[in-house]
Each structure stands twice: as C-alpha cells, then as structure tokens.
Symmetry: C2
DNA sequence: TATTGTTATACTCTATAACTATA
DNA sequence: TATAGTTATAGAGTATAACAATA
C-alpha cells in the first residue's frame, strides 16, 4: 500500500505554488528598479554567456524567439542590452549587456539576496543540492522530445 | 569551505526551469481541450472546495481578485463554471463547477497523467514526499509577511 | 532547403485604481 | 470602516504564421 499517493498527486501544484511565490517576491523586489523577474532572468543569461544570439537566448530561458525579441526590444530601450550583427553569420545578431546593464544586474542581484536567503534558510546546504538536482531531473525529463511516444 | 556555493545560487533558476517545463508541457497537453494550464489549476481548486467565493479562489491559486474574475468570465463563457449569489453575504458570489466543468476536469486530469508520470519517474515515492515538503516550506517562507522586516 | 530574425496579430495573465454595494 | 466584486485600463509574456535575408 502506497502511503504517499495523496501527496504525490500534488507535486505539480506544489511546484507551481513555490515558483509563484518566488516570482511574486522577485517582482516586488525589482519593481522599484523598473525590471521584471523575467527580464532579470534574461539579463542573467546574458551575463553568463556573452554575445549570445537571440535563438540561443530563447533556448536558455526556455522561451520563444519572438518572445525574446519583444523582451530585448524593451531592454534595449532601457539601454541595458545592445544588439550587434554577428561576426560570421550575417543573419544572426549577437546580444550583450551594456555597461549600464551590468551595473543594473549587480543591483538586482543584491535586491534579490534576501529572497534567496529565505529560500536557503528552509534547508541545509546538502538538502539544497539534492533539491536542485531533483528539479533539474524533472526539467530534463519534461523537456525530452515526445515525438517517439 | 562550502562546496555547494555555486549550486546554491542556482536554486531560483532551477525552480523556474522546472516550473516552466511543467507549464509548457501542460499547455501543450491541454491545447486541444481549449483550456490553459492556469485555468486548469483554477478548475482543480474549485473541485476541491465547492462553492468558494472569488476572493477565496484568488488566495488558493495565489492570484489577484481581478485576475481571477477575468479567468472566471472566460470559464463561464465556456460553461465550465457558474457563479451564484452567496447565501448569507450578498456582496459575495459563490463559484462552482458545472456538470460540464466536472467532465472537462476529468478529461484534463487524464490528459495530464503522462506528465505526472514522467515527473514521478525521476524519483522514489519517498523522494517525492521530501520534495513536496521542501517546496511547501519554500512557499510558506516566501509567503510570510515582510512587514516586520 | 533550413535557419535567423522580424513583423503582425491575438490571447491570457497580471495588476492598479476608482467605483458600487453590502457588512 | 472594511470587504466583495466590478470596471477600465495598461503592460508583459506567449505564441503562431508569413515574410525577408542569408547559410
């Protein structure tokens, strides 16, 4: 007899609730900086791999090219990012943080520190590692191609 | 020396990526049923506590009263839910699933079964329980009032 | 032919503020 | 006064399809 049946059916909802709470807290923390939580994720992706193309960005933040473009247009208006033509592929554009964008990102990172602290306060470092590992497993399982099924 | 520092800073992103993957898969699975993932969550909340008010619903799906209203208007057009005046509080309205809404929810539950199976396939039942527990801790920590800080 | 990006378009969710009616 | 819901309004993210230019 499985004792966890009732809990098991609530994993998706628990995942959603946790993400929603994180998202809401992040939006609130970034509101005064004029940046949304999703824009922050995009900036963060840019800070890790410089000079990404828009398509690469879309993959990284698991979004759509046209969605990414809409976000980039907004960020470019704020002068946080800059697009330039790709050195070898003239179809493509490279996207990079501006100096102002890097400063903004550092501010945002600080503004979000208390949120991360709260999350980590719930558990030990080992538990954090395990949790991240499980979340990544879920992500990669769900992102596998379903074409063969 | 902490060995998990590098991983730790990625918990928020890992949480986001997992939720995004879940959300995307769910949207795809429900597309042919004409219902969004968020609408499904709302229907699910209604199936658990019958005759909720709109405010109670907003709290449950951790959303906004006006957002909930917009969603309810759509669902009412589809005849999946019905609103009626509250028996004792004439300001309030109670919301309930229609018979058609209950049928739709059962279909959606089936349509999403393979997604849940994939999630659970990543781990043991015990791990699922632990994971849910941690996610709930994160949720409640992040949802605590920040007014005292 | 396939791919990168753009454009047009539309829909859902989100959220604030002002408002009505009721508790 | 506080609360439940409505309305108007606005913006962000999402996504599809058609298109141009290039690989």
């Amino acid at each position: 007899m499985k004792e966890s049946t009732q809990q098991e059916r609530e994993l998706p909802l628990a995942l959603r609730a946790a993400y929603m709470a994180l998202h809401r807290n992040t939006e609130a923390a970034f509101a005064q900086h004029g940046v949304t939580a999703d824009q922050f994720v995009l900036l963060l992706a840019l800070s890790e791999g410089q000079a990404l193309t828009q398509r690469e960005l879309a993959d990284r933040i698991s979004s759509d090219p046209s969605t990414v473009r809409a976000m980039l247009v907004l960020l470019e208006k704020m002068e946080l990012i800059q697009r330039a033509s790709h050195p070898t592929d003239s179809r493509a554009k490279t996207v990079a943080l501006t100096a102002s964008g890097k400063r903004k990102l550092r501010k945002l990172w600080k503004a979000g520190q208390s949120i991360r602290d709260e999350m980590y306060r719930c558990m030990t470092p080992d538990e954090v590692d395990t949790l991240i590992c499980q979340l990544r497993n879920i992500t990669s399982t769900l992102n596998q191609e379903k074409s063969l099924v």
